[in-house]
């Protein structure tokens, strides 16, 4: 939008120069005086009882300060959504990832050597690795204090009358879709440095996406350790990628705290790459049974979904992803009758966590693959079928989501236009599309969905902005600075964004749910508006005019068209400050969107606005090897208003390639709970040579509630990628792959099966 000076501009990332020079400090680079190095020993079995532990040889090693085991963990120190996971396990281990001991030593080498000297005997127990089998009656129990492996966390919603709608449907299709483990692969591995001051207050450097909730977890940990009324200060170094992986607190952070307290010295734990693969969380694997039906005109009548999620051995936020899966299930396209039942099941596998899209990619894979099946059965072009059923502004979905702005139709048009550009159909080449809905205006998962921002103006026309929001590479610092600069008539370089320290930054629920631009952006806008009001008020006195006749632009405060009534903003600030009874301009704003928590029937408008998008892809399938080549990719998103198109494109491109990995190549290979590919050679991330050309049409439908009309766009890029690919493969060679990733093995096997049946 041309009326803006800073918003909507392709302004490079504020911290990029620092990063380009190799000066940015990540957790790997943090060193404190006297710091020790911690290392963690993991279980050798997927499920076993610990029968003996002997630390004597390890403790005798020179340079070892201390060794902790499950015995040393306070009873109430527990992690995760269920608080069912102590940072070090006592008596029993539940997965290969389980931590059993930790060392603090003078050097990383000594710590590693000490781990090798720890002797532990195990009594191996039968393990269970398949969630569907784990639901059977005679299955071994992962947690013996439970009656069943199924978590007491039933996700169940039922709107309309699905059975009746099914009877009335002209066409009905069914399918079973499965997804497996994939992992974030942040280039900067996880790590933390914990340190206590003389009064037992904690300072922890950690690359978290949830500084305020982490602070709460750490305060609870201190309390469990008997350290009541102490302070916990969370400092974030530059974060080497998040993608949801840092949305909980982890054993390594709690262990660093315990070691640092025991040794009275700072302790650093940083993962190496295999450890990052083995001991951080994955996206949840799912098994989805889906049935959808439509009338003879293609109008979608019902959607019926049963789902089983592999919870792993402990319960982190992964178990709550069905709450987000409900969003596409109830609200992607108009559908009145919806039934969804999901069960999370304990297994002896690794436990899952948040990952970009938070369940949405799994659900959308099933829905959008199945929609193509339904369109085919109804004899309707898949793009047309989606047009028939698209959402409209003003819709209220069965889950009570209020659709404010919706550019789904424009996204469909944009994708179709690009895909149909290239002429006739070649053999083995096909196109596929898939749509998405995602929260675009925050998401009330926690009690608060808010973010606080403080702005402090100095005497030189510069603004320091202290935000609760977190920049982990996605660019929130820019969004914040651009919004504040726009509002205050400053340049981006006049705005310094501080997001690193809970001692100075206000509360925020965390960088998740594509919420930061909307929520932290609105908080920044609110605080800037308060500064602006003060500037106009005080400026009007200096310039002898009324506040509403004044404008802020290009570091000036002025009456448009009146050169006499103009003043530099920094000069005004000094005037205000250095006059009798002077004042400094400071403002704060806490923005909590009017998003609703879901009620007992899971109804509630989770987000103030929703982001829509359509992805289209053209693939070539090699029918002799099953290899799929992506020829062209179009990802159109309705973003409200782009605050920074350069960064927006970066989010879309990055999301799409992550989604392509999910669709085609990425898989954490587990054999009986053991990770078999904990490295970049065997875990197949797309390389630069595999990168594909992506066209990313940006559809702008300014949203009245978004800051300058913006909606969130962090996650959508990887949501509909897999079904778009699956649909394109079907179009190309007529085989429907229903399990991710769609490897050449699966495609070739399906092609051979098809040949056999013909």
């Amino acid at each position: 939008m041309s009326e803006y000076n800073v918003v909507g501009k392709r302004i490079p990332k504020i911290d990029a120069a620092q990063k380009a020079m190799g000066r940015a400090e990540y957790i790997q680079d943090v060193k404190l005086p006297g710091m020790l190095y911690g290392k963690i020993l993991y279980s050798k079995h997927a499920h076993a009882r610990i029968t003996r532990m002997d630390l004597s040889k390890a403790l005798a090693l020179s340079g070892v300060y201390t060794i902790l085991t499950g015995e040393d963990v306070p009873e109430k120190m527990r992690m995760g959504f269920y608080k069912d996971n102590p940072p070090l396990k006592k008596d029993k281990v539940f997965s290969f990832r389980d931590e059993v001991a930790a060392v603090a030593a003078k050097t990383p080498e000594i710590a590693k050597k000490a781990l090798e000297l720890i002797e532990i005997d195990y009594e191996v127990l039968p393990g269970i690795f398949d969630p569907e089998k784990a639901m059977e009656k005679d299955s071994p129990l992962v947690h013996e204090n439970t009656k069943s492996n199924v978590l007491k966390l039933p996700w169940k919603l039922h709107y309309g009358d699905v059975d009746k709608a099914e009877k009335e449907a002209a066409f009905v299709v069914e399918g079973r879709f499965t997804t497996t483990w994939v992992t974030h692969c942040c280039m900067g591995t996880s790590g933390a440095v914990a340190s206590f001051d003389a009064a037992d207050n904690l300072t922890i450097y950690t690359n978290t996406q949830i500084p305020s909730l982490a602070q709460k977890d750490f305060l609870e940990a201190l309390k469990a350790m008997g350290l009541k009324n102490k302070r916990a200060r969370v400092i974030k170094p530059i974060i080497g990628g998040g993608f949801g992986s840092k949305l909980d607190t982890y054993a390594y952070e709690h262990i660093a705290i315990l070691l640092a307290h025991k040794c009275r010295k700072p302790v650093k734990i940083v993962f190496d790459r295999p450890e990052e693969f083995i001991a951080t969380s994955t996206r949840q694997p799912t098994v989805t049974h889906i049935k959808q039906g439509c009338d003879k005109n293609g109008k979608l009548l019902f959607r019926d979904i049963r789902m089983v999620l592999d919870n792993g051995a402990h319960t982190s936020w992964g178990a709550t992803t069905p709450s987000v899966m409900m969003m596409p299930i109830t609200s992607l396209y108009r559908v009145d009758n919806v039934r969804y039942d999901a069960k999370c099941v304990y297994t002896n596998n690794t436990y899952s966590q948040a990952m970009r899209g938070y369940g949405n990619p799994q659900a959308t894979f099933a829905i959008e693959s199945n929609i193509d099946m339904l369109a085919e059965k109804a004899g309707i072009d898949p793009i047309e079928f989606r047009r028939i059923n698209r959402n409209h502004p003003g819709d209220v979905t069965p889950q009570n989501f209020k659709i404010t702005t919706c550019g789904l139709d424009l996204c469909l048009d944009a994708v179709e236009k690009e895909l149909r550009k290239s002429g006739t159909k070649e053999k083995g080449v096909g196109i596929g599309v898939a749509s998405l809905i995602h929260v675009g205006g925050g998401a009330r998962i926690y009690k608060s969905d808010g973010c606080g921002v403080i702005i402090k103006m100095d005497d030189y026309g510069k603004a320091s902005v202290f935000t609760g929001g977190t920049d982990m590479g996605q660019g929130l610092d820019n969004i914040t600075a651009q919004i504040v600069a726009e509002e205050l008539g400053l340049l981006v370089e006049d705005v310094h964004v501080v997001h690193t320290d809970t001692d100075v930054c206000p509360w925020d629920v965390g960088a998740h749910a594509s919420r930061s631009t909307f929520v932290a952006g609105n908080a920044a806008l609110g605080a800037a508006k308060k500064i602006k009001a003060q500037l106009l008020e005080l400026g009007s006195k200096e310039l002898k005019t009324t506040p509403d006749s004044l404008m802020l632009k290009d570091r000036l405060i002025f009456v448009p068209g009146d050169p006499e009534k103009s003043m530099a903003i920094d000069k005004l600030l000094r005037k205000i400050h250095f006059s009798p009874g002077g004042t400094m301009l400071v403002s704060d704003h806490f923005f909590d969107p009017i998003n609703e928590n879901m009620g007992p029937d899971y109804k509630g408008n989770m987000s103030m606005t929703y982001t829509f998008g359509v992805h289209g892809v053209k693939v070539r399938v090699d029918e002799e090897t099953g290899k799929v080549e992506v020829l062209e990719y179009v990802a159109a998103h309705d973003v409200g208003q782009a605050i920074n198109p350069l960064l927006l494109e970066g989010q879309v491109y990055g999301g799409v390639v992550m989604g392509l990995g999910y669709a085609l190549s990425e898989e954490v290979m587990h054999v009986n709970g053991k990770n078999m590919n904990p490295n970049f050679r065997d875990y197949k991330l797309f390389t630069a040579k595999d990168a594909v050309k992506i066209i990313a049409p940006v559809i702008q439908t300014p949203d009245k509630d978004g800051p300058f009309g913006a909606k969130g766009i962090g996650e959508p890029g990887c949501v509909p990628t897999a079904p778009a690919i699956a649909n394109a493969i079907y179009d190309a060679v007529g085989v429907r792959i229903t399990t991710l990733p769609i490897t050449p093995e699966k495609v070739l096997a399906a092609l051979m099966e098809k040949k056999k049946n013909h």
Binding site: A16, G22, G188, R273, Y653, T687
Partner: protein, 157 residues
């Protein structure tokens, strides 16, 4: 212990090293040059890429002892002494080639080695040269654009 002599970003260095140190260890842990990152330690990700005698190599699989008598360029040596970014660095900044930034020093070093030897590198040649540098944030496109844009701003010098 062995003493090696090498040129590092235009400085002549004499350093006493242990035989089993990698060049990455020497640069990061001993000399405090934190710009060179360890992403995997096994030559699979390229975060530790530096230039040795004009070739981009992974310093995690290069013994420090083999740096003797070599000319080594790291990310710290690219910007000019007055603080001005190297055209490639500036191009990565301007074109969205950097998000979390962890892969960026390695990406920029691989790109520099490419353009130093092949100032007119095509998109395909860029993809080939960066195939050993993994990025999880950008999907690579803005990185390719960064390298291409630098070709015309003196990045190829």
């Amino acid at each position: 212990m062995t003493i090696i002599n090498f040129k590092l970003n235009n400085d002549l260095i004499e350093y006493e090293i242990k035989d089993h140190w990698t060049l990455l260890h020497l640069l990061r842990e001993e000399m405090g040059l934190i710009g060179t990152k360890e992403g995997c330690g096994n030559g699979e990700c390229g975060a530790c890429t530096v230039i040795v005698d004009k070739l981009a190599i992974n310093s995690c699989l290069y013994l420090a002892i083999d740096a003797d008598k070599k000319t080594i360029e790291t990310i710290e040596g690219l910007a000019s002494t007055d603080g001005k970014l190297h055209p490639l660095q500036q191009s990565f900044v301007d074109n969205g080639g950097i998000q979390c930034g962890f892969c960026s020093p390695g990406m920029i070093m691989s790109s520099k080695a490419l353009l130093d030897g092949n100032p007119d590198a095509t998109r395909e040649e860029i993809k080939h040269a960066l195939a050993g540098n993994i990025c999880r944030c950008t999907g690579y496109l803005q990185i390719f654009e960064s390298v291409e844009a630098a070709k015309h701003t003196g990045g190829a010098k």
